[in-house]
């Protein structure tokens, strides 16, 4: 009569014979999807945040920064000669190269660069002799603000539209959302930004068509300036999120546990927000996470439309003058943002699903 098994990961295997129509859940965390071997071990380990950092983020950070360094190393064509001009003596060039550390071997340069980058020291621009780290720190808030406003837009609009479309499946709202989303996905986000300027600044005059006011100077002005570029940037992702959420929520609402919740007497609202939406949110949140690199690129373009003194202009100028530390610095900063957002998204997803937290 007793059930002696002690609950825990090991007892996750269920007896056989569940209805074949509902197979996906039967696996649990160690279900049929995972293969044997390294990857499976890895995934089990990455259930713990510390290990996830060590095995996921750190190698990725190392590899991606190595790609950046290797690429810029290969492409850089004697910047000292370029800087000193045609009349420079070979000695002067050698001296400058030495002061930049360019006379060292590739790996020595790489390790030294990486060591400095980890501490936030991104070096000095070859041509303007200013600190790259400081310049980025000044400009980054602009792109971060645009990206964050875009993400908020994507989440708010995407979740609202996707949820309504899924709940009123087949209704007018559903059709409109589906249509608008499929149109938005094929439109370049910077074109949306341009049309937003045409509509809201040039035609209606509601919002400024460009310029920037730092948040700490005047939050209200800041919001006015960040709204157009940020929201128009986020619309495409909002469309992706809406489509994703609509799909996963429609399937979630068809799941048996929704019937189970109804039989337990829970209200439709509670079933939707307390159960189905929570379970369906993961793919949509992951979509937002995957969109961060694209959004950063979009922010760079939005800068040039709205005349914002951000990272993109800095990168464009640096690239045009072959200013290697500037290019390296911008890439490292954006990679850092992408990796941080990955960690945040992974943590969110783990919270949504206790299985990974407890495994």
């Amino acid at each position: 009569m007793s059930t002696t098994t002690i609950p825990g990961p090991g007892t996750g295997s269920r007896p056989t014979g569940g209805r074949p129509a509902a197979p996906r859940r039967a696996g649990g965390p160690e279900g049929p999807r995972s293969s044997t071997g390294l990857l499976r071990q890895l995934r089990r380990r990455t259930a713990r945040p510390g290990r996830a950092l060590l095995l996921g983020v750190v190698p990725v950070a190392l590899i991606s920064t190595f790609i950046v360094f290797l690429m810029t190393y290969l492409a850089s064509a004697n910047p000292a000669a370029q800087k000193l001009g045609e009349n420079a003596t070979p000695e002067a060039i050698a001296r400058l190269n030495h002061s930049w550390g360019l006379d060292r071997g590739f790996f020595e340069q790489y390790v030294s660069w990486l060591g400095h980058a980890v501490t936030g020291d991104l070096g000095t621009s070859y041509f303007t002799d200013t600190s790259v780290g400081e310049a980025i720190a000044q400009r980054l808030p602009i792109d971060l603000a645009l990206t964050i406003v875009a993400i908020v837009t994507a989440i708010v609009l995407g979740f609202a539209a996707g949820t309504i479309a899924a709940v009123r499946r087949g209704g007018i709202v559903d059709r409109v959302v589906t249509l608008v989303a499929s149109v938005l996905i094929t439109i370049p986000e910077f074109w949306l930004a341009i049309m937003a300027v045409v509509l809201f600044s040039v035609t209606l005059g509601w919002l400024p068509s460009g310029g920037w006011v730092p948040f700490h100077q005047d939050p209200w002005q800041w919001l006015q300036h960040v709204l157009l570029p940020g929201v128009s940037l986020g619309l495409t992702v909002a469309a992706q999120v809406a489509r994703q959420l609509r799909g996963s929520l429609v399937s979630a609402l068809d799941e048996d546990y929704v019937v189970g919740a109804r039989v337990r007497g829970l209200s439709p609202r509670r079933i939707l927000f307390g159960h189905a939406l929570r379970n369906a949110a993961a793919p949509a949140i992951a979509t937002v996470g995957l969109a961060v690199p694209t959004l950063l690129g979009g922010a760079v373009i939005a800068e040039s439309i709205f005349g914002l003194p951000g990272l993109g202009q800095y990168a464009l100028n640096g690239a045009q003058s072959h200013d290697v530390p500037v290019i390296q610095g911008v890439l490292v900063a954006t990679i850092a943002i992408v990796l941080i957002s990955n960690v945040v998204v992974d943590a969110l997803l783990a919270r949504l699903r206790p299985a990974t937290r407890k495994a």
């Binding site: 074949p20 859940r25 649990g28 044997t36 190392l62 991606s64 910077f190 890439l331």
Partner: protein
């Protein structure tokens, strides 16, 4: 040809096919189709559409907008095609081969593709285009390289799925060499899925090419590109507010036709896998033990692809217990259609073992 027929089963996809065909014709013969000299400046500046003999009006120095759009199509569309080509080459072939690689190589390759995916494409392209002497080639390579991980993951996942199927294992037992297996069996199975990824990636590449054109990377003024025309329009928004409509329309139509084609392909292949492959798969599944255990990257690849195209499941690898079927908008990626069919077998396997 069945695949072709199924792909173009709906009017939606047929329209997309026609649009894409038109875009390709314009891209190849654009200059010859242009009614006017795309660089020839005229007296009528900011002419409205349909006035003074200019169907879509003129720009800030009186150049014919339609002619510039048509002759700019080549640079815009063909550079996108080149990006996809680079991605395909660098991604798909290593992806198929990686399925046969050892564990550590596998681990390294996967981290490497993760690292590539952490690079923001536009920023990366700015860097490369600036550093390399030829900006356009640099930009194409940069975007192409960053498209490669998608192809890599899809190709690898599909290969992993098929490589463990019985007939391939049988071929191995019979002493077939790896190259022979890859040539004989796997390419034929993997190619359809790669075709879907190619179409979605091409849609993305069109947008990326337009972005780079907008930033002035690649083709230099006064030669027209769609993105470059938009950049010029932005400088004259006050004089001609609605000019950005036309380049935007061309970009969006191209991207839409490619996405719609990808959807059609996906649906067509899903239908096919239900009809044809199903017959092959099920006995395999029932025999247990050798059923493809598509691991972590598999789901994730489809996810990565899907999320990028705004489509299916974004969290395959997160393995969300409550995840409803992959397929955000009801479209099941082919991989899932082939060996992720509910109840097809992995459950059975568990029940037995």
């Amino acid at each position: 040809m069945d695949t072709f027929r199924r792909t173009f089963a709906t009017t939606y996809v047929r329209v997309a096919g026609v649009v894409l065909l038109l875009v390709l014709i314009v891209a190849v013969f654009g200059g010859a189709l242009a009614p006017d000299d795309p660089l020839g400046q005229g007296d009528a500046i900011f002419a409205h559409a349909g006035t003074s003999g200019h169907l879509l009006g003129t720009d800030y120095v009186g150049r014919d907008v339609l002619s510039r759009l048509l002759s700019g199509a080549g640079a815009s569309v063909l550079s996108a095609a080149a990006m996809v080509g680079v991605g395909l080459l660098l991604g798909a072939i290593p992806g198929v081969l990686s399925a046969f690689a050892g564990r550590w190589a596998e681990f390294g390759l996967l981290r490497f593709t993760d690292a590539m995916m952490a690079l923001p494409p536009i920023v990366f392209a700015i860097a490369i285009a600036g550093l390399f002497t030829n900006g356009q080639v640099g930009a194409i390579i940069a975007i192409g390289v960053l498209l490669a991980p998608r192809f890599f993951r899809i190709a690898r996942a599909e290969t992993l799925g098929f490589a463990h199927q019985q007939y391939v294992e049988a071929a191995t037992l019979l002493g077939a060499s790896r190259t022979w297996i890859v040539r004989r069996h796997i390419w034929r199975k993997v190619l359809p899925t790669i075709a879907v990824t190619t179409a979605t990636s091409a849609g993305y590449a069109v947008l990326a090419a337009a972005s780079l054109g907008f930033l002035g990377l690649g083709v230099q003024a006064p030669d027209p590109t769609w993105g470059g025309m938009l950049a010029a329009n932005v400088e004259h928004l006050a004089e001609d507010s609605w000019a950005p409509i036309w380049p935007g329309l061309f970009i969006a139509l191209t991207a839409w036709s490619l996405n719609a084609l990808a959807d059609g392909l996906r649906d067509g292949l899903a239908a096919e896998s239900g009809l044809v492959r199903g017959a092959v798969d099920d006995p395999d599944a029932l025999l247990a033990g050798v059923v493809p255990a598509a691991d972590d990257p598999h789901a994730r690849d489809l996810a990565a692809d899907g999320a990028a195209s705004g489509g299916p499941d974004g969290t395959g690898d997160r393995d969300h217990a409550a995840d409803p079927a992959p397929g955000g908008d009801g479209r099941v990626p082919v991989g899932a259609g082939a060996h992720g069919r509910p109840g097809a077998g992995r459950e059975g396997v568990r029940d037995v073992g």
